[in-house]
């Protein structure tokens, strides 16, 4: 899971590296995902997201539903 300076840099890398699968997130999407995923990680009542919770979060962030299908 890598960060790129711009979509042009990312597209050049994808063309060169040819990863077997590929999806792109905007900074807004990855920031929203990271915050929601980890905000409770150090809390006493932390528990992992259920598949249903993960699917709802991915949908709220408009992520590719097939790529981000959790199961």
């Amino acid at each position: 899971m890598l960060l790129f300076r711009s979509e042009e840099h990312l597209e050049a890398w994808v063309a060169r590296a040819r990863p077997p699968a590929s999806t792109v997130l905007s900074l807004e999407q990855i920031a929203g995902l990271a915050h929601a995923w980890y905000v409770n990680k150090l809390a006493p009542d932390w528990k992992r997201h259920t598949a249903e919770e993960a699917e709802a979060l991915f949908a709220r962030l408009h992520l590719d539903p097939e790529f981000w299908r959790p199961r």
């Binding site: 890598l2 960060l3 300076r5 840099h9 890398w13 699968a21 590929s22 900074l27 990855i30 929203g32």
Partner: protein, 155 residues
Amino acid sequence: MSTDAVTTAPFDQEVRMVIARRIREQGVIPSIGEVATLLQVEPASAEAAFVRMAEAHVFIPRRGSPEIYAYDPFCSEPTDFAVRAAGRDWSAICGWDALGIPAALRTTGTVRTRCGDGCGEPITIEIGADGTATGNAVFHSGVPARHSWDDIYFT
């Protein structure tokens, strides 16, 4: 991706809280031995909890060991994803985790890395306490979510 039920044994929860407290208050991911000392239990008991938690994907263990490699989003070793938050320097195993460190600490932060295409250009992202991000970057994932734990060291 890991969304299974977490280990809920009371002792495992105690271990998890010790780990979280050490990270939050000292900026350190503790070893099995440190956790055993802090909880005043035999190292074998702490190790058994670490094994259960690793199997439940609470954290990523070191290869061939139940010790913690990454208590996501926090990595126990320096990486290419550096984060400054809560007055400390942290590292993360990927961009997703790097942006998650300020969230886990419930504070603001700065993520520093370099462009993934090898051009060497620095990337700096400022994270607000509400999780909003400012900077120039796009994120790429090459592993579908349902396969993220197939080879977590690659993911």
